[in-house]
Symmetry: C2
Subunit: 121 residues, 2 copies
């Protein structure tokens, strides 16, 4: 179960690690599009765009359907909920670690103040 | 500026696309650790772990510092704010698209109902 989720996160983060693929998701968020449309919008060969769409499809972020000669792409059922949750948890850990660091710095400042007073006495 | 941000998102999403690297970030969220510690925790060779840490470092997610023979790793200054924002925007587009789809389905159902009544009349 956990391994399955890890593999899914691997696939979706890898799919998101390319500006063109993120652009395709944004485009499909506005309207469905054919591979030919997408290749045109992103000034790319059909082969190149097919490869990008294939990666998005494998990650569950895009669904494609071929009707006649046209393959239409639309957003898949993955809502990136797990990805959002992972990032949120990391951000909270991050904040907690840096808050702890701030406390240490504050403590050192206070000590320095006390020592400063002592030295002046 | 936009290209710079795109390159940063490419690097951070790619860094997050590996379960070991996500594990390292979670580990460093709890406490700083040496490369040797991390290699031990994730049952990996030093060389393998150095490579993973290098990718995290290039993405700004980890900072390393060598003192004597020990290289200590800690969380970097990147808070994944842009990544969280990108995913959130996608989720909103996604929800809007599927809400629109729901409306179409609802409309079709209503029409079907009316037609059903008409047929029965």
């Amino acid at each position: 179960m956990v391994q399955y989720q890890a593999a899914r996160l691997d696939a979706s983060f890898a799919a998101l690690s390319d500006a063109t693929r993120r652009g395709v998701l944004e485009q499909l968020g506005r309207a469905d599009a054919s591979i030919t449309d997408l290749a045109g919008t992103f000034r790319m060969t059909l082969t190149g765009m097919k490869k990008h769409v294939g990666i998005l499809e494998q990650a569950g972020l895009v669904i494609t359907k071929k009707v006649g000669r046209v393959r239409t792409c639309k957003l898949g059922l993955r809502r990136l909920a797990e990805e959002a949750a992972w990032i949120e948890r990391h951000r909270q850990l991050w904040a907690a670690r840096f808050d702890a660091l701030d406390e240490v710095v504050e403590e050192l400042k206070q000590k320095e103040k006390v020592n400063g007073h002592k030295r002046r006495e």
